[in-house]
């Protein structure tokens, strides 16, 4: 198989995989915030893609008005979205975290939140599909003997996503706050008994998840076009990634993202582009039924 790849037997397929896997990084970044928020607080945040869209619009205006490269606007998005996330958490989600059926309530609440954001975005930015167009969106690299095409924008986005994910992972692994977040994920009650201020950790994690959405939004602004109500399509896509990887697992989200991005690319190539999103939804159904705990995670139940 591998030698066939190297011998150029599968030039077309490899090219397809290059196209789709370079998007996998951004999917992973988008999903990382979602999985973090679920892991720490058991919140299934249906508004996560709406958050990404807000950030994408910020990047869009930073690009058109301030002439700021979308990659640079990450620096604006991250703090702004962090603050936004903290406020949203405090206003909508903080109460009742220890009650039964909290997760179910958060699904409905974030659903409501997503509708509100959609309404506001639609009101402010009606009209066309938008996207930012820095020069590298039209440029490509050629690589390998077969002269594979690597779109510059996708490659940059992939690298940036990987950097941000590794940064997030290291933060969780090595800092004091990271310890507290992981402890809260694994055993909320015990975290409390060793002196973790679970409320603040939850608030911070939600802010962090939203900040990751902020970074993802900047990358999204030049990779995909966006329109206020198309965020729903992303909900199921992102959920399928983290359900596959195991809800709450960062590594799982990354693996799930690349796995499904690759599969969707091949499916789209074989059966036509409209089938590509169906890959994600079908995967979501299958995983929920066959292995609800996903590859790396815990079972998603009525908690």
């Amino acid at each position: 198989m591998i030698t066939d790849f190297l011998n150029g037997e599968y030039v077309h397929e490899v090219q397809i995989l290059i196209f789709s896997l370079t998007l996998g990084g951004v999917y992973a970044l988008m999903a990382s915030g979602l999985t973090l928020v679920f892991g720490v607080m058991r919140i299934v945040n249906l508004a996560h893609p709406a958050f990404i869209f807000i950030a994408a619009y910020i990047s869009y205006y930073a690009f058109t008005e301030l002439n700021l490269d979308p990659m640079e606007s990450i620096l604006i998005n991250v703090p702004l979205m962090f603050i936004f996330g903290v406020i949203v958490y405090r206003v909508f989600l903080a109460s009742g975290a220890d009650q039964p059926r909290y997760t179910e309530k958060t699904v409905l609440l974030t659903f409501a939140l997503a509708l509100m954001i959609e309404g506001v975005l639609g009101y402010l930015f009606t009209g066309a599909n938008r996207s930012t167009t820095p020069t590298y969106t039209t440029e490509v690299f050629f690589t390998g003997e077969a002269q594979y095409l690597v779109p510059k924008a996708q490659l940059y986005a992939l690298l940036m996503s990987l950097v941000l994910i590794i940064f997030t992972w290291s933060f969780l692994q090595f800092t004091r706050m990271g310890y507290a977040i992981r402890a809260t994920m694994q055993n909320r009650a015990a975290a409390q008994t060793v002196g973790v201020n679970v409320k603040w950790v939850s608030t911070f994690s939600f802010g962090m998840g939203t900040a990751l959405a902020g970074a993802a939004g900047a990358l999204m602004s030049f990779l995909f076009s966006f329109f206020p109500n198309t965020h729903w399509e992303w909900v199921a896509l992102l959920l399928s990634l983290i359900v596959l990887g195991g809800m709450g697992s960062l590594v799982g989200a990354v693996v799930g993202a690349f796995l499904l991005a690759g599969t969707a690319g091949l499916v789209s190539d074989a059966y036509g582009p409209s089938w590509s999103p169906l890959t994600f939804y079908a995967a979501l159904f299958l995983i929920l039924l066959i292995r609800p705990q996903g590859l790396f995670g815990k079972k998603l139940e009525m908690t």
Binding site: Y179, A180, A183, N187, A190, T193, V194, G195, V196, K199
Partner: protein, 244 residues
């Protein structure tokens, strides 16, 4: 010296009925005090209120002369009261070492934490041996040992133990109570809840009997063990079993 005082505590969960219906408790420094009573007497609930996880509906918790009734769990911990809940109190996917590090979370001083963890390892060689293993791979007794060791990292003034012997084999139970004694030797006051009333009182200095959310009796542990009425009511089953 009175370290902790509980006065007229009333508490319950959610909008449910009162579980604690006016409890008083006095804990002297350096003591091991054991709370006994039948299921549903409110023993665990009492510990949860003291450490701030559950807010009381009425009454007061006074620690070193200062009310801690309204404090958050992490604030209570900083005052020096450490709670070891009934089972599942570890971080399952963290290593033994990381779990101990989490024990020192409230210290904010990495070097001090390391020093104390070293001391724990000296006292519990088993934990040192397993330091790289994930907590969920330990046996029940080792997990309990780790939970108690983790409480020691902070060297708190009071440690609250909720049924430390629950679900453990008799041999290991013996070992766990040795650790309880070790707390005392390290100058840590112990307030524990025990279902295994005989064993608990044997190791304790002072006993408190709760029933239906109220104090029934309190006094020196050996007096309680000897009291025929309490034997009858609260240690009865045990005596019958031993009689056989």
């Amino acid at each position: 010296m009175t370290l902790l005082e509980v006065k007229g505590l009333v508490a319950g969960y959610g909008s449910g009925p009162d579980i604690l219906r006016g409890i008083d408790l006095t804990l002297e420094a350096g003591q091991i005090q054991c709370i006994i009573g039948p299921n549903g007497a409110g023993k665990s609930t009492l510990l949860k209120v003291i450490c701030g996880i559950l807010k009381p509906r009425d009454g007061e918790v006074i620690f070193e002369g200062e009310s801690i009734t309204r404090l958050r769990p992490d604030q209570v911990l900083k005052k020096g009261i450490c709670f070891v809940p009934q089972e599942r109190s570890l971080f399952p996917h963290m290593t033994v070492g990381e779990n101990l590090r989490m024990g020192g979370y409230a210290l904010k001083n990495a070097r001090e934490t390391r020093k104390r963890i070293k001391e724990i390892y000296r006292q519990f060689p088993t934990l040192k041996q397993k330091r790289w293993q994930a907590a969920n791979q330990l046996s029940g007794g080792q997990q309990q040992m780790l939970a108690m060791g983790r409480a020691m990292v902070l060297s708190p003034k009071i440690v609250l133990l909720d049924e430390p012997s629950l679900g453990l084999a008799p041999l290991i139970v013996e070992h766990i109570f040795e650790i309880v004694r070790q707390f005392k030797e390290n100058g840590i006051t112990v307030l524990m809840v025990e279902q295994n009333a005989h064993k608990g009182l044997e190791f304790a200095d002072w006993g408190l009997v709760l029933d239906l959310g109220k104090n029934v009796f309190d006094g020196p542990a050996d007096t309680i063990l000897a009291d025929p009425r309490i034997q009858e009511l609260y240690l009865g089953t045990r005596r019958v079993q031993e009689g056989i």
